[in-house]
Amino acid sequence: MIMKPAYLLVLCAIAAVLLWAGCSKDKDKSPKFSESNLIGKWSSGTEFWRYDADHSGRTWDTADDVNEDDETTMRFAWSLDGDQLKHVFSGDEVHQAVAQYYTVKVLNATTLQWDDGLEVVTFTKVKVD
């Protein structure tokens, strides 16, 4: 009989913890980054991203025999809201609208770093001659 109230107490404590844990805190503390730093061409290994001022861009991977001037580069529209970088891709012939979101970690004149939900990728800005 002694154990029963204790048992119930423990359960109540766990429930309280769980209920506390289930309550999310809606705090917007994400950093903001400047779009002007994003304009330009970035590379990570053989992977390249280019952001144009008109919020269009293209990306390619030279490992797959695609170059910047190639018609087959992937084209997208981009927007930067706080640390959320959105890419909306349109296909070549099959015009799919596929949106991808990335959380920007670092964005300055030389470095771009984002988290795509699976891994953090770091890019270096490519200087244009």
Binding site: L18, D61, A63, E93, V94, L118
Partner: protein
Amino acid sequence: MKKWIKITLISLGSLVALLLVVFAVACWLIFTPAQLTKIVNNLSNRYVTCDTHFGSVNLTLFKTFPDAGVDIHDVWMVNPIQGAPSDTVAYIHDLVVGVDIREFIKNGNIVVRKICLDGVDANLFTSSEGQHNFDVIALADSSQLSDTTAFRLPEEVSLNSIKLDKVNGSYTDNQLGVRASLEDLEMDLSGSLLGESIDASLLMNIKKICYTQQDSVGADFIDCEASDVSVDVSSDGSFNNLQGRLQLSLPKGQFSMQGVAYVNDALASSSDDLLSIDIPFNYSNGSLSVDGAQLGLDQLKLSLTGRLQASSDVSYPSLLDADFSVSKVSVQDLLPYLPPQFAGFCSNMTIKGDVALSGHVEGGVGDTNVNVSYIGCDLMVQDGSFADMSMLPKPLRNISADVSAQLYLDSSATSVVNVRGLSATMGSSKVNLEGSLSDVLGQMNLDVRGTGSLQMVDVMSFIPDTMPLDVRGTAQLKLSAKATIDQLSQLDLNHIKLESNIDFNQLDVAYGDIHAISPALHLNLHTSAQRPVADKHCVVAAALLSDNLQLKMPSNQVDAKLTGTQLAVNLPDFSNLDKPIAAAFKLVMERTNVGVDSIGMDAEQLELNGSVRYDASQNDLIASINPNLSVTLGRTLFFMPDMPEALRMSSMAFDYKPGSCRLNDFNLHWGESDYHLSGSVLNLEDWLAHKSVLKADISLQSNYSDIDQLLSLISGMGSDPDTIEQMRREDDVPADAAPFIVPRDVDVTLHTNVKSCVAFDNKLSNLAGNISIRDGKAILDQVGFVCKAARMQLTGIYKSPRPNHLYLGVDFHLLDIDIEELIDMIPYVDTLVPMLSSFSGQANFHLALEGYLDAKYAPKTSTLLGSAAISGKELVVLDNETFDKISSLLMFKRSTRNVIDSLDVEMTLFRNKMEVYPFLFSMDKYQVCASGIHSLTGNYNYHVELLKSPLPLRLAVDVKGTMPNIGISLGKVVYNELYNPAKQDAIKQRTLEIKKMVREALESNVR
């Protein structure tokens, strides 16, 4: 008679005789030769201007009895002129002139009865200035020339005998370039003219006559010589009825004109007279007639009968009307007498035959010319032969001709030449012609008909040996033609009427490697003027008909048997070759074998109807021949390079005209595949010339198709193989890779309906939809099919900009497919959606994906972009370690049934990352929400949360890590209770967009 009369007459006679004797003695005493010679020399100085000398002049009675005469010896006439061959104009050895003594005694007139010349040498000369050395007669006083009374023939011509003997003479005229000479002339002219009655006879013999005339540059123009010339002319009767005969004999002679000797050695050595003339004539009432006159030139004899009658025509006061005939003569006997120039021309000829010529001539005869108004003649040639290897390959034999001509030179009627028959044989071939040439003096209308029996061997003898042509067989020829000579000379086919029919038998033609055999073949040729030609632009039509024609070409493996051949060719006027040449044909081939450049065809039945129209002004081949074809093929085998199996065609029928090809029926078997095609193809010729896009709209039906085999056939179609090979080298395409290169410059749509097929090693069935190839794009427009018992629909675009960079965009919709078979069919699905392998059962799968592939069809990950959706019910979750661990952490009961009531997952793919949007599924009493992202390389970040369970707890699990080191741990609860993730509806939206873009791609031009 009374005695006194008799005595009186005797007395008077004696007295007269005495007086004559006294007169003679007195003349002799008075006119001594010396006196007479002196008198004559004196007289000659008065009447002759040159130096003249008479040797002696004597009176004679005996040489001229009963007339008195003067006998003159040694008469010289000397008149030197510069350039003359001799100063002596004439020398007469002896001249006797008989004078009528009674007229002299009675009236004192000197009437000459007889002249005899013996031994005459004359040298007549005319200088280049026109001065004559024989112009020696002194002109009388002008008063003496004033007698203008008309000349009147005396009633009685007193001169009854002229004799010339040993007369030699020469004449040189430097003004005309003439030289003539006469040697040993003898002439005896005797006769009398008394009132209207004449009786005359002329005998003349000349040992030699020469005549030479030079042209303006001094070359001999005419040079002739005759020896032993004999002329005999006699006439008797009144002026109104005179009979006579002219005979001329010229045994030997030479004649040349402009260097051409017309009397050669053979003619000169002939035993017959070179020229003989025998003309009996009769002159009566102004009409001169001859009957049976003979003119002979060696063996050539000309008979002449006719008359010359006076007419009122001032220009031609006499009318000629005569018949002539040339006796039958052998040509070969005349040939030796041809001048050397002509003999050289025909030196290689062998000519034989008998020729006969007869005719009639009419016309007017003037003083200096003859105006022939009509000539009619008949020419017969028999047993002729002609051989000249330089002209004819074989001798012509059995030449015969029967030709008549009526020539109205005065145009009083239409002149005509009739060829009643003309035939010849060459080898075993024979040709016959007949016809006419009317209006000979006008436009000359030819109307000819001919037949021939030809051995093609004989015809082939005309073909040069250098031409690789050999023709055997026979031919029967029928020909008719009507045309004017001008039309023929100008080859005016618009107006020439021509009809020709040739029946070939057992024809065997070999031209190089081409061999044609036909037991019977008919060829017709006619012009539009004869009868209408099908093509109004053409003037000549040729038609070839045969029920049995076999064509062989071993080098190209052609062997065709044509059971019905109709070939019609229309030709334009040759004078304007810019006009098109048209040919219509109908060919029925029973069996055809063709092989060209490793491409072979073996057809059992081929029917070809159509026409071609050759236009030389066009440069392009198709445009220049402008074909219009209707082709029907029976069972046929096609052999093509790089095709291990033959194409078996059960039937084919198509119509072709420039710019359009209508495929009516095309049943093809290739390996296990069968194809039934119908539709249309446009711009084929422009596409072949690389000028335009090939357009085709074809319906394809098949019971079974090997798509891989078909793709290999059409891969790169229309592209230059060298270009493709160069692209492969530049793009580093592995040798074992054979990417499908979409044909360029084509716009082809296939409306497919295939019961079963194999594509990329997958067996498909009930395939239906449109497949288009449009300028480098292969488009599948909602092609439905069944694979592994699943219904599928595929919309896709395939491009091959580079052999190692191939674009593929697909919208792939599979209904009710077994998940295990789906993964088996498309292993890449397991890479895209790894969780799918954890389920078992029927599911719907929808994938919209695009990206680039390498030459071996491996995806280039960095180019992938897509979205997918999976839905299913009653899916069984397969036991595995991951599921066991998750279910343990979520505190699933052991007894939980591992069946998912429903599953509806949506996801997007970018490059190597697949993002799965939050989705719900229920399992037994549990409801779970899951979402996450994973890479195609096996890196996971998923969140699984329990939304509903028998437990009063909210649990969540995070699945993170890289396979196989997956970390599964409790995670934060992020969803509200009873969370219902909003439908992303992305697939639906994207599918609509894909379909829209595919539709736009199909409807728009290739970009």
